[in-house]
Symmetry: C2
Subunit: 450 residues, 2 copies
């Protein structure tokens, strides 16, 4: 819907028509309309609240769930307790928990007041799982069957209880709460009505535990192409499921987090525009400061070779190129290794295979670069062969060193329990700058006896 249409309908108080219009929209699109409208100043808060109130109960719950926490807070402050209660009643428990986790304590109290006792207990149980654990993102509604049931019984059970469950496409077979099998609705629907669940269930269940990291759980869902994965507690009892749509968001958030860290930015939960200027500055300053101070070491070393540069001023002109190439080579290697670790291809035990591979790549790459650069020097600096050779040797040494350090550091970080992503471009470049300057002046001072 265009904003001018929307606004004119609001102005003419055509609420019935607006309600119908929004009923035909996907909740995700309604959220986009409301939030973009606020962000670009097309609608004001009062209008946003009015539009939200026009939504049908079920749709309102979904819209509320999908919103950013900022928009949600505007609504929480505006809605009456009974309105809030209606919205919360329609929400899935796991979504309620996600909402609560982002809210200030006084708002949480108000929201919890608006739910019934049973739900409140479930919510409290979920709130106790550590952040980023499977337990904290799982859904406690799922369909459990028992192995004695026939297919016909199972279909009946699904028909009766399925309407309240977020996903019903995988059913779990439990015995005294212990997970003993899994059966797809597809298999139930395509098996004879009198067959026992026991006969068609798969006993090799892929599951995760409540305290597993959410990223690992999402990765498992992706790897095996699952629609949902059962979550069990330390007593092997089934307590919930994590669904594929949640897994997709987890993987996207983790990729964003990795990319931020790789750019030397402390990751934050919020979106780019949703994060304040001071918060952004805080997320970026720490790394910059650390790197700035580290770079002074390179500067000091450079200062030590002042006399060499006084004798041969041309040496200074190659510094940016050598430092740049070293940094780029190192960050190419570290980035590919970091990604390989993230997607599970590379492990610490592969370290020697990785080094062997990188060294060979470095030799090929550096020979090409040294030749191109040698040719350039030969042409631009009056056919100075000695200079071309000296810079060429430096280039080969720098590239081999950069690629070796670049592939080893992320693996070493992983080994000692750090996030490998911190070993990406900014840090590796700073480390390599120092090494490059040292290697360069060692080689040229020896070569030209200065």
């Amino acid at each position: 819907m265009e904003y001018d249409v929307l606004l004119s309908m609001l102005e003419k108080r055509e609420f019935k028509e607006l309600k119908d219009e929004m009923e035909n929209m996907h909740p995700v699109d309604i959220v986009e309309m409301l939030e973009d409208g606020l962000e670009y100043g097309k609608i004001d808060k009062r209008q946003m609240i009015l539009l939200f109130r026009l939504l049908a109960k079920e749709e309102a719950a979904e819209v509320f769930t999908d919103m950013t926490s900022d928009t949600r807070e505007v609504l929480i402050n505006a809605l009456t307790d009974s309105e809030l209660e209606e919205v919360m009643e329609e929400m899935y428990v796991d979504d309620t928990v996600d909402v609560l986790e982002e809210m200030p304590a006084n708002v949480v109290d108000r929201l919890l007041m608006a739910t019934d006792e049973e739900t409140r207990q479930k919510i409290n149980a979920l709130l106790n799982y550590p952040e980023d654990s499977a337990g904290s993102i799982m859904n406690i509604d799922y369909i459990s069957l028992n192995k004695e049931m026939t297919v016909a019984d199972a279909i009946l059970k699904i028909r009766q209880v399925g309407i309240n469950k977020e996903t019903i496409y995988t059913c779990y077979v439990t015995e005294k709460k212990k997970l003993i099998g899994v059966v797809d609705v597809k298999d139930i629907l395509t098996s004879g009505e009198s067959r026992k669940i026991e006969e068609i269930m798969d006993e090799n269940v892929i599951y995760a535990k409540t305290l597993d990291d959410q990223e690992e759980v999402a990765e498992t869902i992706r790897k095996y192409g699952l629609i949902a994965i059962p979550i069990i507690d330390h007593e092997m009892c089934m307590v919930g499921i994590v669904t594929v749509d949640d897994a997709m968001f987890v993987l996207q958030d983790e990729a964003t987090e990795d990319i931020s860290i790789m750019a030397g930015v402390s990751p934050s939960e919020g979106s780019y525009f949703g994060t304040s200027v001071f918060r952004h500055a805080k997320n970026r300053s720490l790394w910059l400061m650390l790197l700035m101070l580290s770079a002074t070491v390179t500067g000091e070393i450079l200062g030590r070779y002042e006399s060499a540069m006084a004798v041969m001023p041309v040496l200074i002109t190659f510094i940016p190129m050598l430092m740049g190439t070293g940094g780029n080579c190192g960050s190419q290697s570290s980035t590919l290794v970091i990604r390989g670790i993230a997607v599970g291809e590379i492990e610490f035990k592969d370290i020697f295979r990785v080094i062997f591979k990188e060294v060979r790549i470095a030799l090929v790459v550096s020979l090409i670069l040294a030749m191109v650069n040698g040719l350039r020097i030969y042409i631009m600096y009056d056919q100075d062969v000695m200079l071309a050779v000296a810079i060429g040797i430096t280039m080969i040494a720098v590239v081999v060193m950069a690629k070796t350090i670049g592939c080893v550091l992320p693996l070493a970080a992983k080994k000692i329990g750090l996030d490998p992503a911190i070993m990406a471009a900014p840090l590796i470049t700073t480390i390599l700058d120092t090494c490059t300057i040292l290697v360069y002046f060692r080689i040229v001072t020896a070569f030209f006896h200065i």
Copy 2:
């Protein structure tokens, strides 16, 4: 299964037991066992082929689908035509197409010979869609209903045909092949048997077109939390579906591709170890060469200020720090903007909001850095206030410039149809190196009248 157990079973020719063992494994785990075994030299090719032959037909097809193309080629060369035919018969058409797309022409011919006429036609139709389009990854098997059917009819149809479909959890309502509605199996199962499909279907269908980019389609699946999305052709006729498990792989591949480009590596389809040394070298050399030659510009400019550095040799020691900080600031901004573009938060129209935000962040960050650095200079360089002030001013200018250029270039790249990811660290750093040196020497030469 441990490799020593596996090998001893192979040696004792306990094929029946091996077969049973593998039947209890997930196909994804079998692939991992075979490929890791080959890679780490635990089993040889002959043993791998033998193990594959032990698999039940259906499992063999899944294992074959999930393998890397290298392993697949080993099998294709070893299997007889009738064995291949059996495997291909069990594969979904879209998976067959994925397999064929990676194979050399003579192998494709052999594989196509092994399929029946009808499947061959379907395969050829799919092979004609451009790479990376929705058409090229879609599945042509799905369940279509018509609106006159009752819920009971629909359940009967699902029971009859569902067993051959990769996903049955969303059914599509078509009329003369045109897509007119969508209905979840969940809704079918939980509605009265005599209700018409027409009454329970949702007419606001979220769909994609055959020529849409696969990344956009995957992003839509993620955004709306779908299990599958219908794909329609230019005549609005439904031709297939893309499922959530394929979407997850597309998103992961695209993230890997973005991260590669951001590290100055031409993206390749293969995995890290699956790519040869020369291919790796080729993927990395082009950018390195370009950046190396660009860096010579910075070197030349540096050479021009030789006389200034001769007068004040201390100036040289600040170069690595200023160049490093400029590059890091720029790559922080460009990375966050690139990611914002990738996840759909930032668009070109936001350019002034982004610049305004980055400039404010730059002012906060640069003031902090200038103060810390000023203090360091004051202490380390005999309380030289003038020097501290000059470097401080340079720092502020460099950071503001770096953050502005860093946020503008990815948006500009997007605007002119380039991949914003190329404007990440390596390129932005090289550009900023030149700018930093210029700004630095302009300021200090003016400041100290040299």
